[in-house]
């Protein structure tokens, strides 16, 4: 009940963020139910129906293999959610943990955060590219690579936020009550980080989409046959003059989803503890 009320208050009066939320709900539904909704098999090649214009039965037209773009787009929603959530989880589990522990255990933190500094010297996409050269192109590897790339930023952010909370009087009070390290970290500090983490997660989700699309475009992301919005753009870009719809639809889908996620993150950011606002890396 309380959660519902707070979601209402966060998005009250923010028409665009509300629309964004609705759109993201659509994407999520499409991701879950794509096998049921998709009118065609996204992998099915039809050499006769190559590059057909949008219409019936191919709502978004077909690509140069004659695959149904609408069905591929629906399955693409799946990749979007998978990569977004996957990257968030990887980033939070690795970077988040490193950042939090580093801030709490100062000595360990000194060493770990220097390591993070070193990794931060590698620009995000460059790091992703390098890692992808070492790994095979697969969905799992793409998720891991993007997650790892954002792990450094996440570590930095959580380091800063945990440090602030560690200096809080209620943490001192818990120490005086005799609370141990685990209790302070997970009972007193972590619950206070949940809302800023949600905000950060929404921005990582959005960034991850753009990174994944860029990797797909460079031919270093998901395997080319996998239906993702980035691959749809990348595979069909040479047909842009002959069949512009092939780029309009997946492009619009990416932009809408990233924009929605950013709007949602922005709305949530305004509702969190103002002390954490500067720590968040977002749009």
């Amino acid at each position: 009940m309380m959660a519902v009320a707070s979601i209402r208050s966060v998005f009250a009066g923010r028409t665009f963020a509300q629309i964004g939320l609705v759109w993201l709900a659509f994407v999520a539904l499409a991701a879950i139910f794509s096998p049921l909704i998709a009118p065609f098999d996204p992998y099915e090649i039809d050499p006769i129906a190559r590059l057909t214009e949008p219409g019936w039965p191919h709502l978004f037209g077909t690509d140069h293999f004659g695959r149904d773009s609408f069905s591929r787009a629906l399955y693409g929603a799946r990749m979007t959610v998978l990569i977004g959530l996957g990257a968030v989880i990887v980033a939070l589990l690795t970077g988040g943990l490193v950042g939090m522990l580093s801030a709490y255990f100062t000595r360990l933190g000194h060493v770990l955060m220097r390591g993070v500094d070193v990794l931060m010297a590698f620009p995000a996409l460059l790091m992703a590219l390098v890692l992808m050269t070492l790994l095979e192109r697969s969905v799992m590897n793409t998720i891991i690579v993007i997650g790892v790339v954002y792990a450094t930023t996440t570590a930095r952010i959580l380091f800063g936020m945990t440090l602030k909370l560690k200096g809080e009087v209620f943490v001192d009070a818990a120490v005086c009550s005799g609370a141990g390290h685990a209790s302070i970290l997970f009972r007193h500090i972590l619950p206070n980080l949940v809302s800023p983490l949600l905000v950060q997660a929404s921005f990582i989700f959005a960034f991850a989409q753009l990174q994944a699309a860029a990797l797909d475009f460079l031919g270093l992301g998901l395997p080319p046959e996998v239906p993702s919005w980035g691959n749809m753009l990348s595979e069909e870009r040479i047909y842009v003059t002959r069949a512009p719809w092939l780029l309009i639809f997946p492009g619009a889908l990416i932009i809408l989803s990233v924009f929605s996620m950013n709007l949602v993150g922005d709305a949530m950011r305004d509702s969190i503890d103002p002390r954490f606002k500067d720590d968040i890396a977002g749009v």
């Binding site: 809080e168 009087v169 209620f170 001192d172 009070a173 818990a174 005086c176 009550s177 005799g178």
Partner: protein, 264 residues
């Protein structure tokens, strides 16, 4: 002064190293507190009075010196060794808004020390003790399920005091415990602290910058300046016949209201 002080602090030093500079926050402070006695520690901002309190609760590591609590040196103890003693040495903090975890209900906050120190055997037992303690500080049992943001500053400070009293400590360190409160609320909380101290017979180190408040609550007073205690004595001696020049200047600086004629 009784033969065996409850707390005997000898030559306490707390130095901080920042950017190659050493800040001598506390630089050789000695005092003692008898059981049931209230010692006021007064001084201006940055004189190190809060650091003394933080060192005695191990929130800050002492650089040198001893603090004998019932004969045992608490400064040299490890975190683990000190744990059982925390029950007897408790702290009330200044900021009632920051000293309660916003994500925990009052009952959760108050039950934490009970379970850590194994005072409550069951949830039911804990509930009963919490209700009792809340009553002691002037709050009803309905406060238990509520979160800190639902209370006013004065009420939050009462919750902070309840967290301390629930352990029935022998020594309470009150660090600017009423400084953040409005005057009318400050009076209520001061009365409460004084009553609880008298009823329970606990000793107290009352740290404050406010001389009036210190006079009101203390038996003896120590005046601190630049990391050192410049004068210690019974409160009447300190306030009526200060010996040290700094104490005199401090007392002279306080704005006074002319003695009022009682009209009613």
């Amino acid at each position: 002064m009784s033969a065996q002080p409850l707390l005997d602090v000898r030559d306490l030093k707390v130095h901080f190293r920042t950017r190659g500079r050493t800040v001598r926050a506390v630089d050789g402070v000695s005092f003692d507190i008898a059981p049931g006695e209230v010692l006021g520690l007064v001084g201006e901002s940055g004189c190190g009075k809060s650091t003394v309190g933080r060192a005695l609760t191990q929130l800050e590591r002492a650089t040198a010196g001893q603090a004998l609590f019932e004969g045992q040196d608490i400064l040299s103890m490890s975190r683990r060794q000190f744990l059982p003693l925390r029950r007897h040495i408790q702290m009330i903090f200044q900021d009632p808004y920051a000293s309660l975890n916003p994500r925990l209900t009052v009952a959760q906050t108050l039950s934490e020390p009970l379970f850590i120190h194994k005072i409550a055997r069951s949830r039911k037992d804990a509930q009963a003790r919490i209700a009792e303690t809340l009553d002691l500080v002037g709050l009803g049992p309905e406060a238990m399920t509520r979160y800190p943001h639902e209370f006013s500053g004065g009420q939050r400070q009462r919750i902070g005091i309840a967290r301390v009293m629930i352990l029935e400590p022998k020594l309470v360190i009150a660090d600017e415990a009423v400084s953040a409160l409005d005057v009318s609320i400050q009076a209520q909380v001061l009365n409460l602290i004084k009553k609880l101290q008298r009823d329970s017979g606990m000793a107290m180190l009352f740290i404050s910058h406010d001389l009036g408040v210190v006079r009101h609550i203390s038996d003896r007073v120590a005046v601190m300046s630049a990391g050192k205690i410049v004068e210690t004595g019974d409160k009447s001696a300190i306030f009526e016949a200060p010996q040290d020049a700094y104490t005199r200047r401090l007392l002279d600086s306080i704005p006074r209201i002319m003695p009022l004629k009682e009209t009613s």
